[in-house]
Symmetry: C2
Subunit: 375 residues, 2 copies
Amino acid sequence: MALAKSIAMKAFSKSAESFGLKWAFCRGAQAHRIRAFSALMSPPSKAVVYEREGPPDTVTKVVELPPVELKQNDVCVKMLAAPINPSDINRIQGVYPLRPQVPAVGGYEGVGEVYAVGSAVAGLSTGDWVIPSPPSSGTWQTYVVKDQSIWHKINKDSPTEYAATITVNPLTALRMLEDFTTLNSGDSIVQNGATSVVGQCIIQIAKFRGIHSINIIRDRPGSDEAKEKLKKLGADEVFTESQLEVKNVKSLLANLPEPALGFNCVGGNSASLVLKFLRQGGSMVTYGGMSKKPVTVSTSSFIFKDISLKGFWLQKWLSSDKATECRNMIDYLLCLVREGKLKYEMELVPFEKFQIALDKSLGSQGSQPKQVLKF
Amino acid sequence: MALAKSIAMKAFSKSAESFGLKWAFCRGAQAHRIRAFSALMSPPSKAVVYEREGPPDTVTKVVELPPVELKQNDVCVKMLAAPINPSDINRIQGVYPLRPQVPAVGGYEGVGEVYAVGSAVAGLSTGDWVIPSPPSSGTWQTYVVKDQSIWHKINKDSPTEYAATITVNPLTALRMLEDFTTLNSGDSIVQNGATSVVGQCIIQIAKFRGIHSINIIRDRPGSDEAKEKLKKLGADEVFTESQLEVKNVKSLLANLPEPALGFNCVGGNSASLVLKFLRQGGSMVTYGGMSKKPVTVSTSSFIFKDISLKGFWLQKWLSSDKATECRNMIDYLLCLVREGKLKYEMELVPFEKFQIALDKSLGSQGSQPKQVLKF
């Protein structure tokens, strides 16, 4: 329990004194009167914690954290679902630039139901569905206590697994389509890693904006099925990397215009393929590096083809005073989900099976859909 | 003479009929009256021509081109000096994206004295010093005939060799310092290939704008002298590539701010060194590729360091309706030259020794100062 206590103390800076639940959750007039003697407390929380950074399958464990006190502006949220994103893995591994101090609870986004609110909380009530927005560390646990400013109330008609995953990937897709090049209906974009959740979102958002998408996927068993799935989502063209080993990839574009914007989440040769499709003056935005290989570009591509290369990191975008804009876009994206215009593959896994979900997320079983913990 | 005639016909679209010089250059009232019978003609022109693209030392030859007729808006300029730029070499080799149709006369910039003007020419008179601005093909010859709109009159106090070379390199330096990042006094920039003419110009223009320069040069015999020369021009720091084989190049910055802008004319490892110096959110502009190696960048540099990579090509900038702006900047740069604020190494070579100058420009004798033909 020493670790759990340390987490409770450090990760949430909450008192972990042992008040009974009976006292912890009696609120209202009576609770107010006896505030000096008791305090509003969360239930104990079952959480995925790590005391040090390292291989996620060895440093994480599920422990029960003691109740924490709700200060007057705090909201206690009973988590409903939270995904395992690659960046969550990288945070635990210690290779992500911004990381919570250890010991820490894993996870960065998710959805939950308001369980209890501090005395000064306005605008949120028990039973509301909320997501931490901008996302915030520590979502892999049954009860999260954070300041009311962290929580964004969402429409309860949103499917849980989408609400849990709406920020990190779909918002990345939306921002990347908005922030780099003015795209008009009839334009096209090119991307690699098209089967990723961001890739699937780019296809769909582009589609209903009238923007064509040219998609590159890895060569692998089942690539024909993967192509069909992406085409059903609205992809105009899907190529495996080996199909692009031709002298002039642009001859494959048929009637699509040459793309002014490309997205790269792979690096290496796959990034070079994106660049080959780009038109004169086009830009490629890198937001991932799945192959762990760098991007290599000829100097003449910069000088004579006027190519520009940029990067996108949602966390940087979010840190630049975008909280309100972020919430508006989350509402917009969830609206698209409810209208059936935005969908992507996920696998829901009971929280009890966290280690299995983690294992799949670590890639040891080959390509797997995004794992979403269900509490 | 068949080749020469073909050049005269194709490269200048001028009549090459054999009028005597006596008639060709008698202008004024009498010439006007007899226009139907004679025409204003240039002198014959000794020119470096190439009939086909290929290795410059084998495809070029010096020939005498016959006189050409001056149409009413034409100006005949007696060339004074013209440089051999790397892009001139690339045009002859056939590896430059925009090239004159062959057969062609080499050269792209230079300075000359007005020798004769067509009847409708206004604003230019015999004896004026002019440069083709924006630059224009065919400056490696003793007499150039082009429309008056091509020529920009310059201050005759400008040193010939600077007037001849003021556009391709110094203007590139100036535009690159202006067009990518707002640089304020106290900021710094980093560049490789710092001993190039563009590199020398960047150092000096940066210096008198209060911008610090961090400069990277190749390891070679005489690199200490090269360092001293650059420091005399105003370079704050000069490193050879091998000096930068340290874990943290930024520790070498001493009190200079991390640069927001870098310039790359080399590629390969030298470009990676520029990137290492850049601050978070910085940009590197590629304008050359002397090592013939590509630029290689980790995906995390794009995502987490927010690095962006761009290219600069003066010819593209000039083609975007910048003729007036170009001329204003040429005047500004020549003013800097006359004030002693802008200088760079060149070697003046008599036109008769073109093949020697070409040989030096092709690099077979190791690093050489820019060769400037003197007519």
